[in-house]
Symmetry: C2
Subunit: 692 residues, 2 copies
């Protein structure tokens, strides 16, 4: 068995790392103290080097033992390496760290902030500008009425239990999940029957009601993990941060849980701005908030995050898309409902076929799936670890026509990073009802038309008698029926007097009798069609995409001396926080001047760069910029021509000083590849070592 050996290797590595840290601290103390002799310091530095060699070897042994990408332990190892690098290089900083931080809040430090700005700028280019979307920018503070209409005040909740003595809060489903997982993993004597039960619970965890969760917690005797105290019954906790607008304390507000509502409430103005034409899309980038009960999963499950959302408004009777042909030939991993239900895995499919076969509901939805694929892979997301998963019927809101998530595989498993949903007319209708302002579109007829309209009239009285508290959900489900469904029901009611009817929001079938609903087609003369547009919503969790991108871009390679593993982020230039570094090889006026000339040309060309004149070896300086993913490094070792090094191949070419900026510009803007450049310019094989 590999596991115990892996475990031992991991412990060994941890011990080596601790030794390296302790020795490094000792070296720092010796240097800072000012009282130690040079010999003492040198000896300590030598010892540190030796420890690093051992730690490097231990890391490689572990890496070999677990195999790249194999199993949970290797994932955990990868994540630790990535997260350590990210935090050490200030891609992220736990927010308010000097005050011990706040769970679920992170800062982007300097390189992380640039990566984020690059991702958002590309998003704007790829979606907003390319499609001429109407971008808006709405406040985070949102009055209660808006979020009542959207359903968030009522439904944006997680189920919580409290430690009955200390008041500590836990997510009820997390406790049940942890319990089942631990039993399955550690209880070797578990009877098959019990194992099956725990597996079933894990599969349906998201669907359990408060009562069902509470019953299971009682049945299994689950207690508070920290204190072993008994737990309260589960109850819903609203995940919105609540506040009060103005000084009276009477006007409740929330920090928005998504940016979409700001677009919906502006639909009327935006529709007029667009010349009363459909389809059109609005977009918004901004902060959203979610007051998690107890955040886990580090950077993936946070209390404040940046969303980029698109609401594409379209005539429900025509969801074709003129540019669908541009993406129809794309082929990537898709995971439709059928494959999930039959236990198969995601398959490579052509997008055009997925739409023509009806796997994807319509062209507009398909078009956005294709555009999202192009967006993510342009950033550097690995095609092999990206799939589009269709929502199962029980995951999808009753009003949604179809919904696909772009899921990216990382050390936490497959993570939903973009949701692409056809939400039908739900949101606009909800705000129309609540505000009294009709959020509708018009299609004028050249001459009046006689139309047949489906009229569904539920009998509130009979529904109320039959379903009591559930009446509203049954009623809404009846009204939301398509023409086809309505006429099938009508036929059944006429022949049998009653019919079974699935109400998704209740999660079960109910019996509908003839007197509960009247269904008919009526003729009318109409001058125009007034309708609520459907909305197709691609919603991007920018922080999650960036985190997955970090994992997909990260790799290690041994230093020249094999003393340690060096970290590299293979960011494409589009994403890289800095495109180019300039290193004067040694400190002298001539090289410094040349570096300044190059820097000035890079500034003029709009290439972000830094000059690093630190008095450390060139190899160390390369390693330092590899670690933040800088794709190109210019080393100034002459006043007339210099070297350009590519990060991943570590190849170097010699280029005249005045050619540096144009060459780097072409490389970073995609007009030429490194292969082109290394074919055109002489290779440099010089004294610059990769690592001291």
């Amino acid at each position: 068995m590999a596991a115990p050996s892996e475990d031992a290797l991991r412990r060994a590595l941890a011990a080596r790392k601790a030794a390296v840290d302790a020795q490094a601290e000792a070296v720092r103390a010796l240097k800072a103290g000012g009282g130690a002799s040079k010999a003492d310091v040198d000896a300590a530095v030598e010892a540190l080097k030796a420890l690093k060699v051992e730690a490097g070897a231990a890391a490689r042994r572990l890496q070999q033992a677990v195999g790249a990408g194999a199993g949970g332990a290797a994932r955990e190892e990868l994540r630790q390496a990535v997260v350590n690098t990210l935090e050490r290089k200030l891609f992220y900083i736990p927010s308010f760290k000097i005050y011990r931080g706040v769970a679920g809040l992170y800062d982007y430090g300097p390189p992380g902030c640039r990566v984020k700005a690059n991702v958002l700028s590309f998003w704007r280019q790829h979606f907003v500008l390319e499609e001429n979307m109407l971008e808006v920018d709405c406040p985070c503070v949102t009055p209660e009425v808006v979020l009542k209409a959207s359903g968030h005040v009522e439904k944006f909740t997680d189920l919580m239990v409290k430690d009955e003595k200390t008041g500590t809060c836990y997510r009820a489903d997390h406790l049940l999940k942890d319990f089942c997982k631990e039993k399955l993993e550690k209880d070797l004597a578990l009877p098959q029957e019990k194992a099956d039960e725990f597996k079933r619970i894990l599969a349906i965890l998201d669907d359990l009601s408060a009562e069902e969760l509470g019953a299971k917690i009682k049945e299994y005797g689950i207690v508070a993990p920290d204190t072993k105290n008994p737990l309260s019954d589960p109850y819903p906790f609203n995940l919105m941060f609540q506040t009060s607008i103005g000084p009276t304390g009477l006007s409740v507000g929330y920090m928005r849980p998504e940016t979409a509502q700001g677009i919906f409430v502006n639909f009327k103005d935006l529709y007029y701005y667009n010349g009363q034409k459909l389809p059109f899309a609005a977009a918004q980038i901004g902060q959203a908030f979610r007051n998690e009960i107890s955040p886990r999963q580090g950077l993936l499950r946070v209390r404040e995050f940046t969303l980029a959302e698109i609401e594409h408004f379209v005539d429900p009777e025509d969801k074709s898309h003129p540019k669908f042909v541009d993406v129809a030939d794309l082929e990537f991993l898709m995971f439709p409902r059928e494959l999930q239900l039959s236990g198969e895995s995601a398959k490579l499919m052509k997008l055009g076929e997925a739409v023509s076969k009806g796997t994807v509901n319509n062209e507009t939805l398909g078009y956005f799936i294709g555009r999202v694929y192009l967006f993510l892979t342009s950033l550097g997301i690995d095609k092999g670890r990206l799939r589009f998963r269709q929502h199962l019927p029980n995951e999808m809101a009753h009003y949604a026509a179809d919904c696909w998530d772009a899921e990216i595989e990382c050390s936490y498993g497959w993570i939903e990073c973009v949701g692409i949903a056809d939400r039908s007319a739900y949101d606009l209708k909800a705000h129309t009802d609540k505000s009294g302002v009709p959020l509708v579109a018009h299609e004028k007829f050249s001459k009046p038309r006689e139309v047949e309209k489906l009229v569904i009239v539920p009998s509130k009285k009979d529904l109320g008698l039959a379903f009591k508290g559930n009446q509203k959900m049954v009623l809404e489900a009846l009204e939301a029926m398509s023409e086809k469904e309505a006429f099938e029901m009508k036929a059944e009611l006429e022949t049998k007097g009653e019919t079974n009817f699935k109400v998704c929001t209740l999660g079960k079938d109910v019996v509908i009798t003839k007197k509960m609903v009247s269904i008919s087609m009526e003729k009318k003369l109409e001058h125009q069609r007034v309708f609520t547009p459907s909305v197709v919503e691609p919603s991007f969790g920018i922080g999650r995409i960036i985190y997955c991108l970090f994992e997909h871009s990260f790799y290690t390679r041994p230093s020249k001396s094999e003393e340690e593993q060096l970290n590299v982020f293979r960011f494409p230039p589009l994403v890289a926080p800095i495109k180019c570094t300039v290193f004067p090889l040694v400190k002298n006026q001539e090289f410094d001047d040349a570096a300044k000339v190059i820097a000035k040309a890079l500034t003029t060309a709009g290439i972000s760069h830094i000059i690093d004149t630190t008095a450390i070896s060139i190899g160390r300086r390369y390693a330092r910029t590899d670690e933040i993913g800088v794709p190109f490094a210019v080393t100034v070792d002459s006043a007339t021509n210099v070297t350009i090094r590519e990060r991943d191949s570590k190849e170097q070419v010699r280029v005249d000083i005045d050619e540096v900026a144009p060459v780097v510009k072409q490389l970073t803007e995609g007009q030429s590849t490194w292969t082109d450049v290394s074919a055109k310019y002489p290779a440099h094989v010089g004294p610059q070592s990769e690592q001291e």
Copy 2:
């Protein structure tokens, strides 16, 4: 007197505008109803045109009467015209409008959102990239401990009074201000003595304590403006939006009132990231929140806004700046303390002289003043309506070394848009004290130095006996003394036994006796200097800058038919929401194809643009893009060559189709001017009318 006539003209204009609106509504209703005859519709349209001509004439009469930029009424008029255009073209939208909005919350609609993105992108270019600042991105949700340390929990307040019957809240200073202003403006029988008193109150309004405000409100019998009910005593209302982090309700959080604190708490990490070298700057762009008691001043005083802040950390003993020479020759309006106190106005000064004469405290502060000037004027802020005003001693925090506001004149008066403060070591010290983490910098000496250190030891006991509740403020002021001040005090105490000492935070002098404080110099051997860096903070209110930019960019000109005034925003290409529009002159395949070719070339060149194929006259289409400030319009009236029109001159040149994108690119990126282009290409004098 001009005022009554102006008033009459304004009423006349308002009536005309109302008539135009009513008629326009009638036309829309007739068209939409579908039942009206063509003759009816045409007649209504003709009537509308006639009304518009009258309204245009009324507007011009008013404009002549008030004179451009003269007096409060003209300002009000300008503001109305700008704000109407901004709201009609969706630069702004009152947030949650369909639910009647929330005071002090606004959305940026599509063109406003692009302007904002352009301003922020230029800010990043001009400050962050140009100076290699460390940009960070911290959450809005902030735990209480951070804002206790910064002083916001205690001091970020406005004084509020409540209507004692209805509970409606008002800002106490606003009520007193309104009262004094109204008396001064409307009470013709006001005795000189009273007039002087009201003027004095207006001048010191910001300095009044709760007690003083309350006393004045009582003395003048000021009541609630809406109900005439009596008012409560004034009491402080904290302007932060409060919330609760996590589910327990025990962890208080606030929505940050500024972005700066996120940088200060990260100082230690950022200092290490920067190789433990000073000076360096960190920057942050993000949302900030201020729960105003009753927002006034429309778009300038809002409850949520975007800040862009820089914290430049510098050795307090060396505030020189290597790039100060680059800005030393700039000359602009400065308004130092002395000019304000002597009742003079702002004067043109050379920045270099202002620093060398000590008017501006130090080079670093001066450098940022210069960079801010360049930033604002590049955006299109009018140099004649921009001044840098120094804070008066009573405006400045006791710890601040110097502080200047970039003020922009708009219809609301001179508005503070950027604050540039040397905050000394205050913020880092406050967080060091509260967190216990030393936020300090080190300067290592090559060999140990004997140093003399100023040691100020206040006697808490004696201070407590003498000053009771004010003890802390006196103590802090003593500890904050400079070496010079301390030795002057020491000398006084030794000769006279006591001395007067100004405590800014108390706003008065106190008497310090010999036993209250010991002042001495002590000798020590030091290996390094450990010190708290000073921070120079330029803080930009992005929304205010954008609003002032809108006013400075706005003008009107009569349409060709003189039927109406047309609105224009003279945005520079840098700011313009769209750089170029493409108009096929009439609808035909040939022109549409040519337009597509041009659009594709513009996309490749990275120029934002739209094709407008609406079937309205070319003049109307020009007017429509002038109104959102698009600098260039391409009209396709042939398949081989087309016209390019410049917005402000309305001049047109003829250019071959394949030259359009390069010409527009050079124009928008500043490599050529319109003068260059109109010299190079033939002028177009064709059938395209400016206005139907």
